[in-house]
């Protein structure tokens, strides 16, 4: 057996440990895994390598990724290519933040609790809600947790879910609903791309725990939230948002939302092939004891000085166990820190300007493409920085032509089976230049 200087266990240490539990071979520790599962994990067959050789090998593998330094991205669908200010990487790589990023001896980490409190405050201001937690894993699981919270408060089990909700979030809801015995019912969308209110049946509403809506929705269309809360009465209005869009759109809190969740990745977090992401969660003060997740609070110490704590921990599972509001016992601290620095860096005016740029660029490109023969905007409703194109040619062919020219052209919607025909979801962020958009249009024209 090869001996590696950086692994503290020697073969003799291993032999002693195995003998202690009556085994002779490391492989025996995996005996409980079914053979047909285990055989899928083949050894890589690599000989021991020097650091230089490993760097070279890993570098070659990494170069196979189509990343946004090399490709111009118009890809969205829940995770977006926004600009990440350099200050974020600089600050989060400080050891005080990076090493112990989620505090378990909470009150000792006053600095961490301070910025978490700021994060929560910013989330409340952005969403016009009353209290927020210090984050969840991602937008999808945050939405599922919101669903569970609505069940806990209302005591009811039926949820109406907008069909234009991100399908990955929908899958999260189904997973959590299955465990909790909840019922999910679809609400279709109209040709505007928005929720079909006419489809909301009064008898469905009487036993309703909540209505789940996303805005902008998976198609990029902005939902009209006005009057929805009145329609569903004491059922929960749960809204999933794109935080960037709130730089310009009226926040769900103003429309009577009971819980607002969302994906915080656009707030200074890299796309990283799908994660880590950032779940945002905010609600009303009257429901705070049913809210999941960690929450920083501000108080005064025995000498009257301001200090920060982990508040209302009696909701959490390390105290309430099976009666906890959720089984989450952490937060996405490092990602939430990115978002906090991002929001503080941009400020209120910067976020507004950013949202305007996204909106304007997306509309500029949508107009240009819709003018081409063989392309049309699928939905007539208002949109933010993403839109669906109905295309004569198959999206797979268009995407290949675009990829050959160095573009990640968007998302082919066919696998999601939400729409008939050929549909391509295109996102345009502040990063996209006029030149990039012109070339994009040119390639589509000739594809």
């Amino acid at each position: 057996m090869a001996v590696f200087e950086f692994i503290p266990n020697t073969p003799e240490d291993q032999r002693k440990m195995l003998a202690e539990i009556g085994l002779s071979d490391l492989e025996q520790l995996f005996a409980d895994i079914p053979a047909e599962v285990l055989k899928k994990f083949k050894p890589m067959g690599l000989a021991p390598m020097s650091e230089l050789e490993v760097s070279r090998l890993v570098g070659q593998m990494a170069a196979e990724n189509a990343h946004t330094q090399r490709y111009v991205s118009f890809l969205g669908g829940g995770i977006y290519d926004h600009y990440i200010p350099a200050i974020i990487g600089h600050l989060i790589s400080r050891g005080e933040f990076l090493t112990c990023y989620t505090p378990y001896q909470a009150e000792l980490s006053q600095g961490t609790l301070t910025w978490m409190f700021e994060f929560q405050t910013m989330v409340c201001e952005l969403t016009a809600m009353e209290v927020a937690n210090s984050s969840m894993y991602d937008g999808g699981s945050a939405l599922a947790e919101a669903m569970l919270m609505a069940k806990n408060v209302t005591g009811r089990r039926r949820f109406l879910v907008s069909k234009s909700l991100n399908p990955h979030y929908r899958q999260c809801l189904e997973t959590y609903a299955w465990g909790a015995g909840l019922e999910l019912r679809d609400v279709p969308f109209t040709e505007t791309g928005q929720l079909d209110r006419a489809a909301l049946q009064p008898d469905e509403i009487s036993e309703l725990a909540g209505l789940i809506v996303q805005t902008p929705n998976f198609f990029g269309v902005i939902e009209d939230l006005s009057g929805l809360k009145d329609l569903i009465k004491d059922a929960f209005l749960i809204v999933s948002v794109n935080p960037i869009s709130l730089g310009i759109l009226a926040p769900p809190g103003l429309f009577g939302a009971d819980i607002v969740v969302g994906e915080g990745q656009p707030l200074g977090i890299p796309q990283s092939f799908g994660g880590p992401l950032l779940g945002i969660f905010a609600t009303r003060m009257s429901y705070v004891r049913k809210m999941p997740g960690r929450m920083a609070g501000r108080t005064v110490d025995a000498d009257g000085r301001v200090g920060y704590v982990m508040a209302l921990q009696t909701r959490e599972q390390h105290i309430r166990r099976e009666k906890a509001t959720s089984n989450i016992c952490t937060n996405q601290a490092l990602m939430a820190l990115c978002a906090t620095i991002y929001m503080a860096t941009l400020g209120r005016r910067g976020l507004r300007k950013l949202a305007e740029l996204n909106l304007q660029k997306a509309h500029h490109l949508a107009e240009k493409i819709a003018a081409l023969p063989g392309f049309a905007l699928r939905f007539s409703g208002p949109f933010f920085n993403e839109f669906v194109l109905r295309t004569r040619k198959k999206p797979s062919r268009l995407l290949k032509a675009l990829r050959d020219e160095g573009f990640l052209g968007g998302l082919d919607l066919a696998p999601y089976e939400l729409l008939d025909g050929n549909n391509l979801l295109v996102a345009v962020t502040e990063k996209r230049t006029r030149d990039e958009m012109d070339r994009f249009v040119k390639i589509l024209k000739g594809a």
Binding site: R289, T314, I319, R320, K323
Partner: protein, 126 residues
Amino acid sequence: MPYPKEYRYTKEHEWVKLENGKARIGITDHAQHQLGDIVYVELPKIGTKVKQMQEFATVESVKAVSPIYAPLSGEVVDVNRELETKPELINQSPHERGWIAIIAPSDLKELDHLLTAEQYEQHIGA
């Protein structure tokens, strides 16, 4: 603090005081002492029907959340709203001002399953 002789007690540290056929309920001095400073009480909804020893309220201290069990089956007819703003009443006056709810009992024979003050004191090793 002495345990009132006219009350009945559960092994889970609730007390019952019969008043004109209705049952006033709270938690004992022993319980509030174990819990520490009480910061929140989740009161049951009026009209809730409960079975004996079914969880029907919760009391929250800084370090723990404790379920409160209905000592008798019946219907909740009143709750102590004062606890919404002054949960510390349970610490200060657990057997009187810190009462939690009043139940209209459905079967008074259930009282036979409860402990007397003397039996309760023995139970907690007083």
